[in-house]
């Protein structure tokens, strides 16, 4: 069949398909007109194959190729039901994923919490050690923030809702930024994640040890215990996601490095999504609960312990009853 005859015969089909594509691309297609889309899309693909096999002109082939491409974009779109998938991710997918990635999660937790506790104890025993890590201006700033006397003078007591808002924004920006860095730098053969896990662990440990040692322990611990459950876990998980990325490059197994990285990144980014949720919760608690002053430290400790148990229980037990999907 000559090309011009071929074009004449199917011109109307192509135009119909093109207008359907346009409607779909603008999101204005209704279900009724789109019913025949898959059949028409396959016909375009067939015409393209025919045109190529018969050596028709480049213009016609390019034209069909572009329509096939646009059809492909519509046909194979990944439509996700965001609301439902977030809920099922929270109820089962996330804790299951954390348990499935227990190796990197364990390593990251050991690096982070290990360095945190070790540094805390060391600074408690040898107070001057903190200056090897944190510069003196920051140390005194930290001290004034958790000074029990300053608190009684109303430093936290005078916070109004605008103040809470400001802190909420700051915590989101700061903490999620740190989590993202900890994750992304894992691509550098794990080195970045290890660095950020250790650096954050050591700094937090040093500050905690210092404040306990100079007698500000109660203000500090009652402030951090609540949101710490979410925030510290989240940082450790972000590190785990980064380690998984780097490990895929270091030890790709039987896959090419690029492929191993792509597969690992798919899992890691889900961990990061969970981390974002955890940090949003943490920022909320930190801005609205931890900063409240009309509860006694005892209640803060009780609630904080409850939250830690909640987080641990969530990662250990949630989602076990569902079949893994």
């Amino acid at each position: 069949m000559k090309q011009s005859l071929f074009e004449k015969r199917y011109e109307a089909d192509w135009q119909r398909f093109a207008s359907l594509l346009e409607a779909l691309e603008r999101g204005k297609a209704d279900g009724q007109t789109s019913l025949g889309f898959s059949a028409e899309y396959r016909r375009i693909c067939q015409h393209l194959a025919l045109a190529q096999a018969r050596g028709y002109s480049s213009h016609l082939i390019d034209h069909l190729q572009q329509m096939a491409m646009r059809g492909h974009q519509q046909f194979y779109r990944h439509r996700s039901h965001l609301g439902a998938s977030i809920l099922s991710f929270l109820l089962g997918g996330f804790p299951r994923l954390v348990r499935a990635e227990w190796r990197s999660v364990t390593v990251a937790s050991l690096l982070f919490f290990g360095s945190l506790i070790a540094m805390g104890v060391l600074v408690y025993l040898f107070p001057d050690l903190i200056y090897s890590l944190v510069d003196p201006a920051q140390v005194s700033e930290m001290e004034s923030m958790y000074d029990p006397d300053a608190r009684r003078l109303g430093r936290f007591g005078e916070r109004d809702s605008g103040d809470d808002w400001m802190m909420f924004g700051f915590y989101i920006m700061n903490n999620i930024g740190i989590a993202f860095q900890t994750f992304a730098s894992g691509l550098l053969f794990c080195l970045g994640s290890v660095f950020f896990l250790l650096f954050n662990g050591l700094t937090i440990g040093a500050v905690a040890g210092r404040l306990s040692e100079i007698g500000y322990g109660e203000t500090f611990w009652s402030f951090v215990i609540g949101h710490g459950a979410f925030e510290l876990t989240a940082i450790a998980l972000a590190g785990a996601a980064g380690l998984k990325l780097g490990w895929a490059l270091l030890a790709p197994g039987r896959l090419p490095r690029g492929e191993a990285l792509r597969l690992a990144a798919g899992k890691s980014i889900q961990l990061v999504a969970g981390v974002i949720l955890l940090l949003l919760i943490a920022a909320f608690i930190e801005a609205y609960w931890s900063s409240m002053t009309y509860t006694t430290p005892l209640i803060k400790y009780l609630v904080g312990t409850g939250l830690w148990l909640l987080v641990l229980g969530y990662f250990l037990f949630a989602g076990r009853q569902h079949a893994p999907d």
Partner: protein, 242 residues
């Protein structure tokens, strides 16, 4: 990910022309052809996006500064959104195009040619943090220049490609000539070359047309100055009656 089309190898066979096109084989058994965008258009698109973000932040801080601490809080959240989510939101919600990419005619797609989703977009944009290292996108540039499909590290991990957006070409007018039969059987490639020459007439100067056509004077068995008309006639003949 439902129905993943298999991705054909991006390395062309030895006899194929040397180009950067990226072939994706679909379940329908045809090859989609994507044209990956290289460093320069991507860098320009990024610069435009950077400028837009700068302007947004500037305006935002001036306006929100009037609202005191509530404004500060909102400002920090917005700063966070603009820093980490600007690209992701635009790419997912605007068919793979941030404003910069839109201006440069680029878009982001998955390796299999499907529109980019949340997970891939978040991956490639979070890993931007590594591409920037140690300064001024050094790692990203090196990776981009080394990869056959110009991927930076974030693209490799996310399995995404930055490609040129397809534009429908205008219908070329074949020159008037009386249809001729080719003096010998043409292979498919030769047939397409004949048609291609006729279709691209408008874009070539007369001298260049004569020069190209005269290459075929000998096999077509015509004097060099008639070769062009001969080829146009053969193209007409191949195309069929209009």
């Amino acid at each position: 990910m439902p129905l993943t089309p298999s991705v054909a190898s991006s390395t062309p066979a030895r006899d194929e022309p040397l180009d950067t096109r990226f072939h994706v084989e679909t379940p329908e058994g045809i090859d989609l052809v994507l044209r990956p965008a290289s460093l320069v258009p991507r860098a320009l698109a990024f610069t435009i996006d950077l400028g837009i973000r700068g302007v947004i932040l500037l305006v935002m801080f001036v306006v929100l500064g009037l609202f005191g601490q509530l404004g500060m809080g909102l400002g920090t959240i917005l700063l966070f959104l603009v820093t980490w989510w600007y690209m992701v939101l635009f790419e997912v919600l605007n068919q793979g195009r941030s404003p910069g990419k839109q201006l440069l005619g680029l878009r982001v797609v998955h390796d299999d040619g499907t529109p980019i989703g949340w997970a891939a977009s978040l991956t490639r944009n979070l890993l931007r943090f590594v591409d920037i290292l140690p300064f001024g996108y050094t790692l990203g540039i090196l990776s981009c220049l080394n990869h056959p499909a110009f991927k930076r590290l974030g693209d490799m991990a996310a399995g995404t490609l930055v490609v040129y957006r397809e534009e429908m070409p205008a219908r070329p007018q074949l020159p008037e000539a009386s249809p001729l039969r080719a003096p010998f059987p043409l292979s498919l490639a030769e047939q397409r070359a004949m048609l291609g020459f006729a279709e691209r007439q408008a874009g070539l100067s007369a001298a260049r047309r004569t020069e190209l056509a005269s290459l075929l004077a000998e096999p077509l068995d015509v004097p060099a100055e008639q070769a062009e008309a001969q080829i146009n006639g053969i193209a007409r003949g191949l195309l069929g009656p209009v």
